[in-house]
Amino acid sequence: MKDSLDSFEWISEMLDNNQEHLVADKVRGDARAERESRIITATRAAVRSRSTALRMQAPVSLERSIRMAIAAEARTQSGRSFTGKLRGMLSSFATQPRYAAAALAFIAVAASTLFVLSQRGDTLPSNMTEAALAAYANVSSDAGNIDLHSSDKNDLRAFFANHGVDFEVFFPTVAAELVGGSVRSINGRDFPVLVYRTAGRLISLLEVEQGAIDAKTVELDRATAEDVSNSKWHWASSQDRTLFVWKSNSIMCSVVSDLAVNEVSALFSLEVL
């Protein structure tokens, strides 16, 4: 019986090779083969005609997580390639002693400037999610990267205004200690980053005014824009970071922390946002 049941495998293969007409010719006059052909044809069609319905849609939250993870990986690769290229440049000059001294001096100055800038993170990526993640990484890696240590909102407002932020900074109601703020640049425009602390953990809040998004100075992910437009806020978590985005009047606020989603949500009075 095993052999007879399997002897019509060629039917499946010919159907999958778009040779239905040849199958019909081959099975004609053989009742068993004809029956087998009809059953296989009907079963195959039953699945194929439903292929769209049978495929599950990936959740939007998964897409967000994947994009964040890839963005983080891209940043890690950028850091590695910068160091590698610098090493390569230095070693190539070592073989030309005539110019080595001057070239090395230039490279050292440029490298140290770039190194300082990369450590301070004055410039953020143009994508808002990536910028928020980078701002958090910057302020959480070294307390020295917080430009002004202050819990006074008026002091911070004045600081932001005097350092290029050209819109009124929003101070949300947060159940965490305000520890200071920084000014960071995206595509040549300056934006504020507020820094909070709770239970020894830092939270950064990057604010981007809607005009900067409209002018494409800062890019907003479609998924984030849709979420904020439809449901007021956008959540995402990836690896050990939580991202929370919402819009207050004309200001898009991006919070990043290593707290869990439920811990972050407990800090912000979401009902009044």
């Binding site: 999958d16 009809r38 059953i39 292929s51 849609q57 990936a58 897409e63 997580s65």
Partner: protein, 192 residues
């Protein structure tokens, strides 16, 4: 504003790979039988794919490449215990064929009624009930549209094995769909 090389690579990868995310997720759910595990598996797959995107040959089948990465991730991460391959349910197939042989109704009518009118859920359940090796080939061929060659490479078997498994899987599916139709009260002696 000009993008950094890494930004360009990321955008190229997202354009190439992200359209296949639902296909991968759908397959991963059927593989792991758990949506959370499937999400983790898909995320791991995309991360690995991005890390090795420089090794991907542009112009070749990105979807097939991603599916291979997903399969390897599944084997390495999620399938902790090796199990004996499911045996082919020849008894089920034999019984089905006996039923058809003894039916007083033209089998063409039976097939039209059973398979055309099957509910989407019944087809999904029938596929889910298949042993993994048969479920995989049906999904890859009839839902995701891979060729026999691509499936053979994916499951690391000769093309003849793909043909054989696919044919047997379809017969198992036919038997399952006939069962569902009978459970719904489909009568083999009553023309409609």
């Amino acid at each position: 504003m000009s993008e950094s090389p890494n930004d360009e690579l990321r955008r190229e990868f997202e354009l190439e790979a992200m359209p296949h995310m639902s296909a991968l997720y759908s397959f991963a759910v059927r593989l792991t039988r758990d949506p959370d595990d499937a999400a983790d598996l898909v995320q791991e797959t995309f991360l690995k794919a991005f890390r090795f995107f420089d090794k991907f040959e542009r112009g070749t089948n990105c979807k097939a490449w991603l599916f291979r990465i997903l399969k390897n991730s599944y084997i390495n991460t999620f399938r902790r215990s090796s199990k004996a391959p499911d045996t082919v349910e020849y008894d089920v197939i034999e019984e089905f064929y006996e039923t058809i042989r003894d039916s007083s109704v033209e089998t063409s009518v039976l097939e039209e009624q059973v398979f055309t009118n099957a509910l989407d859920d019944e087809v999904a359940e029938a596929i889910a009930s298949l042993p993994e090796e048969f479920r995989t080939v049906v999904i890859l061929c009839d839902i995701e549209g891979f060729t026999y060659e691509e499936i053979a490479e994916f499951i690391d078997c000769p093309i003849g094995t793909v043909r054989s498994r696919l044919h047997r899987a379809r017969k198992l599916l036919a038997a399952k769909l006939a069962d569902y139709a009978r459970a719904r009260g489909f009568s083999t002696g009553e023309p409609e």
